[in-house]
């Protein structure tokens, strides 16, 4: 029971990270109907930005953990958003109206390029980093087993909930959100009605990248290590989360992320840690077979 509870806490933490990445997939899919394969690598870039940010903070003598976290968060979000903007502008926008596979192939190209860019610039070795947010408290202990919650886990979950609430507000209440929803419905009509479609899509990519940067920072702090390849697996799992929750749905992305986190952590805890990645893929295939619209997604009717 104690073991179970401990794993549950770990799963929710991991699930929050996947959920934040999944939002990026789901928003982009919602608005232009493509899977942004490079999103996992944007997440990796976010992680590296945070690593460098924290090292800079240490050099500048900023020792207050909350201040450092906030500063690094803003920095990583801003600069990763530039990546999101550039990727859309260079690799996807010119391909609107090209043949069906073109944006997907272009996205794979971006993914390979980003990985190798970081590998070249930062080296292939994993980068270790001890988190500024240390410690935690024991929730309760029984049978000689402590159920612990670290402060970092609390930060991760609280930040995810806050961002989720913020983004729901942005999309539900602001002009930008209205424009996004208009583009989702009908891009041509939206542009005729004066919505700046290019700008809306760019902003969507930037928002997705900024969230991925947050996830990247959390990942880097949580595991204490990052390398140029982490985006690949995390990206696929987050995509699985987006599909599981129903691609195109924001709450679905978080729900899917939590579920994938649960599956992965419990699989590793009770079955085998070698095959935890296989479990996530297995879920993806099962979802696609039995419920391709996901848990909260709406069925799509092709217009003939």
């Amino acid at each position: 029971m104690e073991y179970f509870l401990q794993q549950l806490i770990n799963a929710v933490t991991l699930g929050s990270i996947y959920g934040l990445i999944a939002i990026g997939y789901t928003m982009v899919y919602g608005i232009i109907g493509m899977i942004n394969f490079a999103h996992g690598d944007v997440f990796m870039i976010g992680g590296f930005m945070s690593l460098i940010g924290f090292l800079l903070c240490a050099m500048l003598g900023i020792s207050s953990a909350p201040l450092a976290v906030v500063l690094v968060l803003l920095l990583a979000m801003a600069f990763t958003a530039v990546f999101g903007w550039t990727i859309e502008r260079v690799a996807y926008r010119p391909l609107r109206g090209s043949f069906r596979l073109a944006p997907l192939i272009s996205a794979i190209g971006v993914s390979i390029a980003l990985q190798n860019y970081v590998q070249l610039a930062q080296g292939a070795r994993p980068k270790p980093h001890t988190s500024l947010v240390q410690g935690g408290f024991t929730l309760y202990s029984a049978n000689g087993f402590d159920v612990r919650v670290s402060w970092l886990q609390i930060v991760i979950v609280v930040l995810t909930v806050a961002l989720m609430a913020g983004f729901t507000l942005v999309i539900g209440r602001t002009a930008l959100g209205r424009q996004q929803r208009a583009c989702e419905q009908d891009m041509k009509m939206a542009s005729l009605l004066g919505v700046n479609v290019d700008r809306t899509i760019s902003l969507t990519f930037m928002m997705g990248a900024a969230l991925a940067a947050v996830a990247g920072m959390m990942f880097m702090m949580y595991y204490g290590v990052i390398d140029f390849f982490v985006g690949f697996l995390a990206g696929i799992k987050a995509f699985t989360a987006a599909v599981l929750g129903g691609i195109g749905s924001l709450p679905g992305a978080i729900l899917g992320g939590l579920l994938i986190g649960l599956i992965e952590v419990f699989w590793a805890a009770y079955f085998s840690s070698e095959y935890k990645d296989v479990a996530a893929f297995g879920v993806l295939v099962l979802v696609l077979i039995f419920r391709p619209t996901g848990l909260l997604g709406r069925p799509e009717l092709e217009k003939v």
């Binding site: 590296f48 460098i52 090292l55 944006p103 930062q122 599909v243 296989v278």
Partner: protein
């Protein structure tokens, strides 16, 4: 920051706008590089520290600024500036003390590209030059239709005589085998991606199935290469069907990510199922292919005969390579021949039709799932053949050889070659596999260039190097294949 470099507008150059555009581009590039390039994290014994590379970053931004500005000039009809800037960059690349070879290469290439762009626009600008270019492109069209059919035959001729050339040493043969293996994989994937329009990102999984099938059947059950070949192909095809069946009903991009995941699953299973696959250590001691039972070795095994004894010639290590070269050539040609046949059969036409419009196919009574499944299975089968060959050539297999990046390279070959074009795959394999092997220095930059090239091809030349599509049938001649 418009990407329409090929745009043909020859309006007057708007200097401030061009300047601003170049500045914004350089600033964005600076923002992309500021942290990732500027602060290189490195371990100095006690935790991570920085190596600063701001000079590199500044030079890179400078090159980008100059290049962007020069391209705007070319588009605005002021190609003198383009030529001057191009020459300047080239001079810097050759003469200035740049901090790294990479920057030297980049600025050199940028310089050459600008010189070409500048010359092109200035020639096209003059009326005589414009006429000449029009004549030239018309001539190349004629040349294309006349020469094109012979081009493939010429390539084949070169491939056949290559092993008998005086310069064909072990290194050349190894490279030849490597290129031909990728040609075969490219042709196999071309059926799936190029003809049927299904994006398979886990193609290497089927390659692995073939390789491990031969590795295990030969080392544990003593099967020969030629016995294993069809079995491995069938096994890979079966994997293709089992994987494809659930997902081929869905949208194309789901297929892409599921195949990507499947490729990883296969690799993880190969790594962890140690009893069966020997895990990360891999399987060694795999027998090579034989010719009518004759082995390629200096000394015959008990009761066997070696090739050189049989032929009554002195032993040479090169014989094995030449033999393997012809095996993979034959396998590749088989792939090509079958694809050629399939394109002219109803199933091949249905693949192409599905690629063009799935809804219309359904309205014509074509079963989309089954049709896609055949493409998937046949593509997988050829990957299985190639995998068997790979195991026989290397005589060792391990999960290391079957990572995602291999799938990406094969896909890049198909995309660069021109989806659906058989000759294009050959050219792309030579460019993407052959050239980097010769220019080893590129090493680390190779994959970066790969990724960028895939994006650029999609943006500027989405149909690839060879975009001609030969109709599968013509009315004048009528008749079948």
């Amino acid at each position: 920051m418009s990407l329409a470099i090929s745009g043909s507008s020859t309006g007057v150059l708007d200097w401030p706008a061009a300047f601003k555009d170049a500045l914004v581009t350089a600033l964005v590039a600076g923002a992309l590089g500021l942290f990732i390039v500027g602060f290189r994290t490195a371990d100095f014994g006690k935790g991570l520290g920085f190596e600063y590379q701001f000079v590199d970053l500044a030079i890179a931004c400078g090159v980008i600024f100059a290049g962007r500005f020069a391209l705007s000039c070319a588009r605005g009809g002021t190609s003198v500036v383009t030529l001057l800037l191009g020459a300047g960059l080239l001079a810097i690349a050759l003469l200035a003390p740049l901090p790294s070879a990479f920057l030297r290469t980049v600025s050199g290439l940028a310089g050459v590209a600008l010189l070409v762009a500048g010359t092109w626009t200035s020639v096209r600008g003059t009326s005589a030059g414009g006429g000449r270019i029009a004549a030239l492109s018309a001539a190349s069209d004629v040349l294309g239709t006349r020469v094109f059919p012979w081009f493939g035959a010429a390539l084949l001729g070169v491939a056949v005589v290559l092993p008998f050339m005086p310069f064909a040493d072990q290194k050349v043969m190894d490279l030849g085998i490597l290129i031909l293996t990728y040609v075969m994989l490219g042709w196999g994937l071309n059926i799936v991606v190029g003809l049927a329009g299904l994006l398979d990102l886990g193609y290497v999984a089927f390659y692995a199935v073939g390789a491990y099938a031969y590795a295990m059947l030969s080392t544990q059950h003593g099967w020969s290469f030629w016995m294993c070949l069809p079995v491995a192909g069938m096994l890979a095809a079966t994997f293709g069907v089992v994987l494809g069946f659930p997902v081929l009903r869905l949208r194309g991009d789901y297929l892409a990510i599921v195949t990507l995941g499947f490729g990883e699953i296969i690799r993880i299973v190969l790594l962890n199922w140690t009893d069966f696959t020997q895990g990360p250590a891999g399987i060694g001691g795999i027998p090579s292919a034989t010719l009518f039972g004759r082995v390629f070795a200096e000394n015959a095994p008990a009761g066997g005969q070696t090739f050189h004894e049989w032929m009554e010639i002195p032993f040479s290590a090169n014989h094995r390579l030449i033999f393997l070269y012809f095996v993979v050539l034959a396998l590749a040609l088989l792939t090509n021949f079958v694809t050629h046949r399939l394109r002219r059969l109803p199933v091949g036409r249905a693949w192409e039709a599905l690629r063009e419009d799935e809804v219309a196919c359904q309205a014509l009574g074509i079963n989309p799932t089954n049709t896609k499944l055949t493409a998937f299975a046949i593509g997988a089968m050829f990957a299985g053949f190639a995998g068997t060959f790979f195991a026989a050539k290397q005589r060792f297999v391990s999960p290391e050889s079957f990572v995602f990046i291999e799938s990406a390279i094969i896909l890049a070959i198909v995309v660069l070659g021109g989806m659906g074009s058989q000759v294009g795959v050959v050219l792309a394999s030579i460019i993407l596999i052959g050239l980097p092997e010769w220019f080893r220095d590129l090493g680390l930059y190779r994959m970066l260039v790969f990724g960028v090239a895939m994006v650029l091809i999609m943006v500027f030349k989405p149909r690839g190097l060879i975009s001609r599509r030969e109709p599968t049938i013509r009315l004048e001649t009528g008749g079948g294949p």
